[in-house]
Symmetry: C2
Subunit: 367 residues, 2 copies
Amino acid sequence: MADTPHPPHPPRPPGSPPPTSADVARQAGVSRATVSYVLNGAEGSARISEATRARVRAAADELGYVPHAAARALRAGASRMVLMSAPHVPAGPLYARFAHEAQSALSRLGYTVAHLAAGVGGATGDVGDAGAAGDGPGAPADVRAWAELRPTAAVALPPTVLTPADVAVLKQAGTRAVITVGPPRVAGAHSLTMDQREVGAAAVAHLVERGRRRVGVVVPAEPGLDTFSGPRLAGAHAAAVEGSGGGTDVRLRPLPLAFTEESAAALAARWPALGLDGVFAYNDEYAMLLMRALQDAGVRVPEDVAVIGADDLMLARLTRPRLSSVRLDRASGAEFAAYVDELVRSPASRPRRRRAMTVTVTAREST
Amino acid sequence: MADTPHPPHPPRPPGSPPPTSADVARQAGVSRATVSYVLNGAEGSARISEATRARVRAAADELGYVPHAAARALRAGASRMVLMSAPHVPAGPLYARFAHEAQSALSRLGYTVAHLAAGVGGATGDVGDAGAAGDGPGAPADVRAWAELRPTAAVALPPTVLTPADVAVLKQAGTRAVITVGPPRVAGAHSLTMDQREVGAAAVAHLVERGRRRVGVVVPAEPGLDTFSGPRLAGAHAAAVEGSGGGTDVRLRPLPLAFTEESAAALAARWPALGLDGVFAYNDEYAMLLMRALQDAGVRVPEDVAVIGADDLMLARLTRPRLSSVRLDRASGAEFAAYVDELVRSPASRPRRRRAMTVTVTAREST
DNA sequence: TTGAAAGCGGTACCAC
DNA sequence: GTGGTACCGCTTTCAA
């Protein structure tokens, strides 16, 4: 169709091994050292004549030479690679956005970012994986595989958890910054705390403020969400205690719920018996599911029961009534990247924790 | 708190370099070769006495020895690493599920799977990145960075696109299998075709079947979605042509829409003037947005206009009326993993394309 | 201005 | 049974 500016590369025999810097050197009639200088533009080292540079570049181009990262890393001793754990549960848009921002900021800083799955093997011995959902609650990272790659920094995003031993292994392998993002405080690691308790606390506080006293808290039945739901429930409890006093107590009731319409309908059916006037539905998705089921069962929102979710999804604003939500603002990916970079530069600094999240309630019609 | 079974590792001076196999050899009083044999359990090579094996393993354990992947890859010439492009736009649950399945199936097959962002640089010269949304439409992969890692296989998931030149670079670097997942057919690469045109075609065919003749097709204003929306619109056109004849023609109208309530409200406001009786809303999210806006503007669904989305999101089933949707069933991650493995084993095979997707319409109340 | 050569950490052949 | 050793591809000091 359109004419290709550079005809890809002279289609070499497919079986032939990738060209090395030695090949380039031979082709250009210079030494490997010269090739290295030219291609890396190491100014401080040697000045190569412009003619030679051109020859080398031409040769590299023609051969389709691409340096071998492993060889380079081996020689250099370090790899400027940042490993981040890949989510196993379908990640929300907030997460995706954060990950992408961090990613691109870090690559602007010259790091190569790779998302590695937290492997199946590890401490918790969950054999097979019957459930389609995930590798189990708070899946352990396969740190061996990580450490083998000698990353410059390792970032564990929820729901991946790192044990102190994991951190030790990584440090031992020369990882300059080990960072956990999420609730658990891990010995030896820097951390960006995202205390999920605050989410539950904010939600319940809001409901209490709205005059609700008997509050349900949805706890997803899905495995792999425990990392979040546990702390959210705990925070809810704390807020309930806080909100009590002055005569009327706030009563909390955990409500297991699977993310299916059947489960929601079942819960809605026994709703009157529960006698609740408010519910924190874990997140917006569960909230939408529950709200629909409640309405179908004749329960009015917010008159009979106030419903609040979390994550402030765009879609959740479209419900009738519009859903109130706890909004989580994460630190921007760029800030995060800067933090990582800082730690890599001065790994001596004592493990610190940083807030990674601010929580605010967006009140809409459902409360 | 709980007693650690293995006290992580004798806390060595943090500044010290990671232990090498030579360190292990010294500690165990054997040669590096022996260490290698023991730790890799290379049965065919040599039989080491059980006593020695134990000493080596003990030493490795005590030192917290972790082999250096780069060194191994260098020696081996190959790296059993599968690179997959990371999504830049927030990925849907289908995508996440697929990626995770593929990931875990591949690691069961002994591959290390890494998700690499398709970097900013590349063929399309979009300078800077003013927009927060994405790196531009159908972002080009930074294949150089990929090729440097000498992956055994490279997988481009949408919206990442690979040019034939990209494929050549990867192959040149020894990548045994280059696979693109998505619409475009790329020379030299194997592919899992996911023809998005089928989605648009199925949606419009369904609307026609329901008796609709003047059909709108939502085209997201967001950049980065072009890869999908273009083909979906094209497919819609094809189906419109197909559905025409027999007296009444099917008329199609592209409807630009940003994913904001304002944009949706604006579109809804001029709805009567458009004179449409059916709309394919690109996907369920846009469909929900549009449907809400239409209803707020007094347009009845499905009486005045039939609405259909795509992706069959759980949340979209909860709307009133329940949203009809085009459901995409991807090949399972496990199948995909097997495909990759097969290609890696016999890279000689001619590039093939495989269907990766089946499309079915789930009719609900909105049509 | 350029080349020779010494490694980085592991693996695997071959000799003892 | 085990140890010596030659690589893998690249960087970088030192000499020429």
